[in-house]
């Protein structure tokens, strides 16, 4: 399994977590799996990075959490985007696009 093949840019993890949750609520492990899936395995987020990030985002008011039964009937803590989180995702997405275009332009020049 490729591990941390690409180093995450500062702030990118938050964006990926918000994006992963934009389709619906997930538990912690689910967020990690979802990120691996939507980035075709480029990014694998280790629990040591994932959980502090989840809690930080929750503190910031962008995520909410609740204990629910998981798909195979275990208790798991599910995270969901709040309204503020959704707004934040929009802002971070726009910011990322701006940077990506700028970098791409810079490299083509």
């Amino acid at each position: 399994m490729p591990r941390d093949r690409a180093t995450l840019l500062q702030g990118t993890l938050d964006l990926l977590i918000l994006k992963a949750l934009s389709a619906g609520e997930l538990h912690g492990l689910g967020v990690s799996r979802r990120i691996a899936q939507i980035t075709d395995g480029t990014f694998t987020v280790q629990p040591g990075s994932l959980f502090p990030a989840l809690h930080r985002l929750e503190e910031a008011g962008w995520l909410s959490s609740a204990w629910q039964a998981s798909e195979n009937n275990r208790r798991a803590k599910y995270y969901a985007l709040t309204k503020a989180g959704r707004k934040q995702l929009g802002e971070e997405r726009a910011e990322w696009n701006r940077i990506a275009i700028a970098i791409a332009k810079a490299l083509e020049a």
Partner: protein
């Protein structure tokens, strides 16, 4: 983020610590189980699956630490967030915020300013190494045979004798304050200066910033060329800080003297309140006689010696020292009494300071007043916070309904308290700076400048801010107790908690009490000021102008006498000047001349110390001091005719039992005077002194004309005098003379500096306290009326009379105010014994003053209650009932 979401996020943050921990444990355990299950489904055995899950999850402890760190970071963010939220809330209620911040600023500012002054004048040690070793030597006893004055204790030969014989000090130094004129001619420009013994700077441990200090080799007997050392301030001010300062000279004392060095900026000398700008060796003065009393002596006590031990040592040594230095000019009797003078030693770690003696009590009192203002300010902030809390009850209840814990709301309220304190303390610091400087300027006069280093004492500032902060926060969170009492319910009700109402009433009583104390102080000091300002001093000061003229040393005495007569004539010709005379010591000129006279009396020869003044003919008319009997001095009185004197009524009453003194004689030393006139009593030195026996002698019978003449002029009109014409007249007749003017009003103003300061500050604080109390009373009445609107409405609807309603609204606050007034009066009477020395012509328990205080407070309280009470009275019953 909307307000609601923000609230919810804040609430979530309140989850208690162990719950967070437990939740995190559960979450990680659940993840572990999920991972394990995933691996098992992928075909691993139970053991392998567990190991794989453990590897993938990593160390739970490390993850938990990271999560905690992330949360802590977020906590700081929420704190910042709370601060911004608090600022916004405070900005939304400008009246509350302004009143609270202003209260804190006044309390903090007053306290810091006055404790800062107190510290600078009384408490701070001299900025020299081991200041605790310093002690000063004083000479006490009958004033038979020496002159006394500010820091003038010993003669040069006596000082040399002390230094040689004593065993208690490891090293000693002597100094004298003086001033030097930096203006070449015309109106003088004085700077403060010091004559110092060669050991002065070495013993104090002060090194020069540039060049060197005065050294023992500079102070040789009879030196005619000597170096001067200047202060850092003078270097900057007069020489622009030029680096080649050591090549410059200073034109003082009729000569040019090389500047040997510049002193460090923080060195002001050893006298607190003054800054010496020039230091010269003792020999520069030329005062070396045994009857020149001009030096102050200080030293460093040897290790193990206390001031008390040194005192015993020196008083035992005293007679030998004094016997060795009896002035040859003394009469046999004075020489006999001279060795009975007694030396005393006093610890002087803070230096010496007449300022301290004069203002020490007043400063303690003002600092006490400042502390009371601080207390009032705290009470005011507390009572304002409670009003605000009542208005915020719905908001707090809503928050608590949304799940905010007590801790969370506590933090929000505490932050608001801290914000108010910080804003108030910052304004207070600025206020303290301005006030401290302002007080110093008020106390300084051109002839007596006061220089103090009013640096901010951070300990005082911190303690003051701490007191206010604690109070503010305490009252900010008091509503929490109510929030708990009134559980959140669907219909959030505004309830008047009985408990907070009582707290508010106590606060108002406290405010009334402190304002009684401060208003009483203001009235007492205002009466003192008025009594002194309007008292009969025995002469007419309102049209008086004193011109001190310093004649050049050049012309010989005979030519100088002619020059002085010419000056007097020229001044009399200046438009606006009615009469001119001169005197050695014009009243309130800052000095008196005491002498010992003796005269026959029924009980034998009596001897007494009285005040003497030497005046020119016409002096009594100039100062408007009526001649009651006999004659003024005139052309008959010359150096060759028998000596004559004019005495005042007190003199006649004291020595002749009120009989006419005309024709009687008294002796002073070897001279006999015949009394030819009797004038009214007058004050000579201070306003508070009793009339003293004074004898006036004729300057026309004195010897050589002095170098300094004090002319007293009577102006045609009261008020501002154009001194330019007088100055030109003087310089026209005596080129190169130095001049200093003072109007009678200036002299009187200088004499009442302390009273003016006390009256002004006490008045200001009295008004502040009164304003704070009015706000407090208004708040309580308005609040009581508002919470009882319904009841009042119903009662009015049922036909209650206006008077009954008023009684309901005002009855309790009246009781509260009366209690506060009683407490305040009791405090005033109990502490007033300590201030009687600062008062004049008024007693602390003066019924008029107490009645005026009570009346003022009553009127203020009434004014504060009228508006809310009127509103309650005019409540429309229907509206009031519909509101709920």
């Amino acid at each position: 983020m909307g307000a609601l979401a923000r609230l919810r996020s804040l609430c979530r943050n309140l989850v208690l610590r162990d719950r967070v921990e437990r939740d995190l444990d559960d979450e990680l355990a659940a993840v572990f189980v999920a991972l394990e299950e995933e691996h098992r489904r992928a075909g691993l055995t139970a053991d392998e699956a567990r190991r794989a899950a453990a590897i993938e999850l990593g160390r739970p402890a490390a993850i938990k630490t990271q999560v905690r760190d992330a949360r802590a970071g977020a906590a700081i963010e929420t704190l910042w967030h709370d601060v911004r939220f608090g600022v916004r809330l405070l900005r939304r209620t400008p009246p509350f915020t302004a009143a609270a911040v202003l209260s804190v600023a006044l309390g903090v500012g007053a306290t810091i300013a006055l404790f800062g002054l107190l510290d600078a004048v009384r408490l701070r040690p001299l900025p020299v190494p081991r200041a605790g070793e310093l002690a000063e030597i004083r000479l006490d006893g009958p004033r038979c045979c020496r002159h006394t004055g500010r820091n003038r204790q010993v003669s040069l030969p006596l000082w040399q004798e002390i230094e040689r014989q004593q065993q208690a000090f490891s090293s000693m130094f002597a100094f004298a304050d003086t001033r030097v004129n930096l203006a070449p001619q015309g109106e003088v420009r004085y700077v403060e200066a010091l004559y110092v013994s060669g050991s002065f700077f070495q013993v104090l441990g002060v090194r020069a910033l540039v060049g060197r200090t005065i050294e023992p080799s500079d102070d040789r007997p009879g030196c005619d060329s000597w170096p001067a050392v200047i202060s850092h301030a003078l270097w900057q001010r007069e020489f622009g800080g030029r680096p080649d300062i050591l090549g410059q000279t200073l034109a003082i004392r009729n000569g040019h003297h090389p500047i040997a060095g510049v002193l460090p900026p923080d060195f002001f000398g050893v006298e607190v309140g003054r800054r010496a700008d020039v230091a010269m060796p003792l020999c520069a003065s030329g005062y070396n006689r045994r009857d020149h009393w001009w030096l102050a002596a200080m030293g460093r006590l040897k290790p193990g010696w206390t001031a008390a031990a040194a005192d015993a040592h020196l008083s035992a040594l005293g007679p030998a020292l004094l016997n060795a230095t009896v002035p040859p000019t003394y009469t046999a009797e004075m020489a006999r009494e001279f060795p009975t003078l007694r030396f005393s030693v006093h610890a002087a770690p803070n230096g010496v300071s007449p300022l301290r003696e004069e203002y020490g009590d007043a400063l303690w009192l003002l600092a006490g007043i400042a502390a009371v203002v601080l207390l009032t300010a705290c009470a005011n902030v507390g009572s304002l916070s409670l009003v605000r809390a009542a208005a915020r009850q719905p908001e707090l209840a809503l928050r608590s309904a949304l799940g905010a814990t007590k801790l969370r709301i506590f933090r929000q309220l505490a932050i608001e308290g801290v914000l108010v304190t910080l804003a108030g303390a910052a304004a207070g610091l600025a206020l303290a700076r301005a006030a401290g400087g302002g007080i110093l300027r008020a106390l300084s006069t051109p002839s007596d400048p006061i220089v103090l280093d009013l640096r901010l004492d951070w300990r005082i500032a911190a303690i003051t801010a701490g007191i206010v902060g604690a109070t503010t926060i305490a009252f900010a969170i008091l509503p929490l107790l109510r929030a708990r009492a009134s559980q959140p319910s669907i219909g959030v009700r505004v309830t008047a908690g009985r408990r907070t109402m009582v707290v508010r009433e106590i606060l108002v009583a406290l405010q009334v009490a402190t304002s009684v104390v401060l208003v009483a102080a203001a009235l007492l000091f205002a009466s003192t000021f008025r009594n002194l300002a309007t008292m009969d001093v025995g002469f007419a000061w309102d049209r008086m102008l004193v011109a001190n003229v310093f004649f050049p040393a050049e012309p010989a005495p005979a030519a100088r006498a002619a020059m002085q007569r010419e000056v007097a004539r020229a001044m009399a010709d200046v438009p606006g000047i009615e009469r001119v005379a001169h005197a050695t010591t014009p009243p309130f000129g800052g000095s008196t001349w005491s002498t010992i006279v003796s005269m026959p009396s029924p009980a034998g020869e009596v001897e007494a110390e009285i005040v003497r003044n030497q005046v020119s003919p016409g002096y009594f008319a100039v100062v408007n001091m009526p001649l009651i009997a006999g004659r003024d001095f005139d052309a008959r009185d010359t150096p060759s005719t028998p000596l004559v004197a004019v005495v005042n009524e007190r003199f006649a009453r004291t020595f002749f039992g009120g009989q006419s003194p005309i024709g009687r004689r008294y002796t002073e030393g070897k001279q006999q005077f015949e009394i030819v006139g009797l004038v009214r009593d007058s004050k000579q030195y201070t306003l508070r002194e009793d009339f003293r026996p004074i004898t006036y002698t004729a300057s026309s019978q004195a010897g050589d004309p002095p170098l300094t003449m004090r002319f007293v002029l009577r102006t045609r009109a009261a008020g501002a005098v154009a001194t330019a014409g007088v100055r030109d007249a003087i310089l026209g007749a005596a080129p190169g003379a130095g001049i200093r003017f003072a109007t009678g009003r200036d002299l009187l103003t200088d004499a009442m500096l302390r009273e003016r300061l006390l009256a002004g500050l006490a008045g200001f604080f009295g008004i502040v306290a009164l304003a704070l109390a009015v706000v407090g009373v208004y708040g309580v009445v308005a609040y009581a009326a508002a919470t009882r609107r319904r009841e009042i409405g119903i009662r009015r609807a049922l036909g209650a009379r206006a008077a009954d309603v008023l009684k309901a609204v005002l009855g309790r606050i009246g009781l509260v105010a009366a209690a506060g007034m009683a407490i305040g009066l009791a405090i005033t009477l109990s502490i007033s014994a300590g201030v009687t020395s600062l008062l004049y012509g008024v007693e602390p328990h003066d019924p008029h003053v107490l009645a005026a205080v009570a009346g003022t407070i009553f009127l203020a309280g009434l004014a504060a209650s009228v508006f809310p009470a009127r509103r309650a009275l005019h409540t429309d019953p229907v509206t009031a009932l519909k509101e709920e």
